[in-house]
Amino acid sequence: MTKKIDQRLPKDSGATKLPNYAAIKSPWERMYGFRDAMRYITRYEAVFGAAILQGIRILIPEYEDRAQTICQAAFDRMYATSQKYGVTQEYLLNMHPFMCGEFVGALIGDEGDDGMLMPGRVQDFGTYRCEKELDACPWDIIGSELCRATTMSLQSQARGSAERHRQGPTLDYAMVEARGCGDRHCRIVAENREKYPMPEHALWQSFGPIATADQIKCTPEEECVEDPMVFREECGFKFANGTNLEESSEMAAMVQFATSACLYFFPTLTRAIDEGRLEEKTVMHVLKCVLEAAGKAAFGEPYARLAAREWLGVPVEAPWDGRIMGGHIEMMLQALMCSYEVEAFNKDEVILVIDRKGLEISNGWMQTPCHVAYWNGMVKTLVSPQWFVFEEGSAEKTIRVCIAKKIDKFC
């Protein structure tokens, strides 16, 4: 292995001529604009998250147990986040002192939705009832457990926000429709149980039914939107909420950097390991198996391989080797705004040295082995089974990912 880097234009090629061109760029100079990059990474992360959830379904087979465990972890994690960052969030979102009660939590969810490319609209925002409708959701392929858990993260932030104000009415947040369950929309309705009584329920039972189904405002299919406000002309390409927070499309990048669907799952598993419910060895074994299979499935069909070359702008005459996989990983890292260096990029090997903090969002230590397993599955079908993706020579702050041919009789 020579560690040679084949001729490739530097990452900042053209930057002085196109200073405002926010894009990701493949090693073969195929460029994508900011919107496409954000759409790509949200879906990439969703597919990755879907695979992780399949692993959890194996590890915790009973639906109720699994959903409750994920919901509880989501509630606790976001409640803690609210304790830590809530004051700043409240300030930016223009939550006023007279806004007493858990309805202010809807403001947090509304902003987050747009940043996660989940466009829709607030249909009701009051002390005793709130309603938010989403027309699209990149996470709609992951699984219903996540739909329940996102509702609980909203519930916990609502509680955290309300606790910083004088006491006000509580709200019970429920996702009464979910794209992840086949509904046209995602719809969260939050109701105060004194005004709108309903039986009590466990955290995981956050799908309703609700008392105010007759107040649901359902946007017809033909009026649904595909993009969040930050990518829509009618909105001036800005997110604007009812309390006058305005944000540009940069918000989407910030949100992608800070969260992903798997952040609902890794803490769940970590907690289960800490509590002795699951063994770390078993968890990682199952996750690696599932992710490697998911990676193989990504490019199993011949047209998927060809589409990947087209997406990356690989020249027709270029051979099938590890550089294609390397370019694929690079695009993902760029869209994630994760910095990396190219140590080798040639027909024999590709070595990427990746910023650990950029890939392991919120210090999720499980993420790196999971990503590597996923990529190792991908390379088998995208390039050939002779190729492997593996971690070698990583350091505390960097992950060194190698793509090379190997023979492994136990793979």
């Binding site: 300030y91 930016l92 223009n94 006023h96 002192p97 007279f98 004088r166 009618e234 006058n244």
Partner: protein, 338 residues
């Protein structure tokens, strides 16, 4: 399937009508910015287009705050005390940055005192009687936008005559944070005795009550200039103020848009409005988009859906009927209390 979230809601209706017919009270604490220093008056006279220099201690003044493009950043009430000002705002984050940007050589100091004070709104025809029953000094002499020190059960308060409901009689009771529970209890007891009730619904205190009176809240004013929303009448053109140059051009050319009222008689109209965020429902005339719906609530006094449209100037006039997302809307003045 959609059922009007305002029209059939008895709780919202009763809280709203308590203010209109009797007395309603509620915690309505806004953020407060305290401004002091030798140049406080001159500074505020520069950052606000309305006249602050002529404001006497004990009086209040409503004004917009503009950016350099003459667009409204915030609308506020400036309260003058003997040695400082209070500015009641909903956007301290914007205001703090804006003051900092324009402070220059002004000898002025400003800081939020929001955590130190709470405010209860006591609004409606019986509000004066209620406060006279619990305050050490009668409030009869207070004129609109006048405030004075007083006390309730030995606790110091500031009583300000004004409010966000359009009621001729309405007061704001400012109390120290530490006295909030006790003051609240006194107000609750007095209002209960008068047959009034607490307003607890955000939509009533922020949307239905002020809208009936033609008032603005938050997004109504965003990216509009004072001429477009009818708030230019009290601008002092004889002084310099932030946004003046841009606004003078608007004055010469005339505003491009205007804020109009509208009503919809349908029981359950399906209309989006900017008050919830987003762009608001598009309003079309002869196939051309001429505006967007800023707000859509319900007038419990007139028993009809009502709201605001920010439309291209001169395209619509009072009495016109237009279609908004399948409902017939009638253009009207922005006041449902007249």
């Amino acid at each position: 399937m959609y059922r009007n979230i305002f029209k059939y809601d008895d709780m919202k209706r009763s809280e709203h009508m308590a203010v209109r017919e009797n007395v309603g009270w509620y915690l309505f604490t806004h953020q407060l910015m305290q401004v002091e220093g030798d140049d406080a008056e001159a500074f505020l006279d520069y950052v606000f287009p309305n006249n602050i220099a002529t404001l006497k201690p004990g009086r209040d003044r409503y004004t917009t705050m503009l950016d350099e493009n003459g667009e409204i950043i915030d609308d506020v009430v400036v309260m003058r005390f003997d040695d400082h000002f209070w500015i009641s705002t909903l956007f301290p984050s914007y205001m703090d940055d804006w003051f900092y940007a324009h402070q220059g050589d002004f000898d002025v100091d400003y800081y939020e005192v929001s955590d130190d004070w709470h405010m209860f709104a006591v609004q409606g025809p019986l509000s004066k009687d209620v406060l006279n029953g619990i305050c050490a000094e009668p409030v009869d002499g207070l004129r609109f936008f006048q405030h004075s020190e007083n006390s309730i059960d030995g606790m110091d308060v500031i009583i300000n005559r004004g409010g966000f409901t359009g009621e001729k009689l309405g007061y704001e009771v400012y109390c120290a944070e530490s006295d909030t529970d006790a003051v609240e209890e006194k107000i609750r007891e007095a209002c209960d005795k008068a047959g009034g009730r607490q307003v607890t619904e955000f939509q009533v205190m922020a949307w239905t009550l002020p809208t009936e009176a033609g008032f603005y809240y938050m997004r109504d004013l965003r990216h509009a200039n004072p001429f477009e929303v009818g708030l230019a009448a009290n601008i002092n053109w004889d002084k310099d103020f932030v946004g003046k140059a841009a606004l003078e051009k608007v004055r010469e050319a005339g505003p491009a848009r205007e804020m109009l009222g509208f009503t919809v008689a349908d029981d359950d109209p399906f209309i989006q409005a900017k008050q919830y965020g987003g762009p608001g429902e598009a309003v079309y005339l002869d196939g051309e988009e001429i505006g967007r719906v800023s707000k859509m609530v319900y007038s419990y006094v007139k028993d009809i859906n009502c709201g605001y449209i920010l439309a291209d100037a001169g395209k619509l006039k009072v009495g016109d009927t237009i279609d908004i997302h399948g409902s017939e809307a009638v253009i009207c003045e922005r006041n449902w209390l007249a």
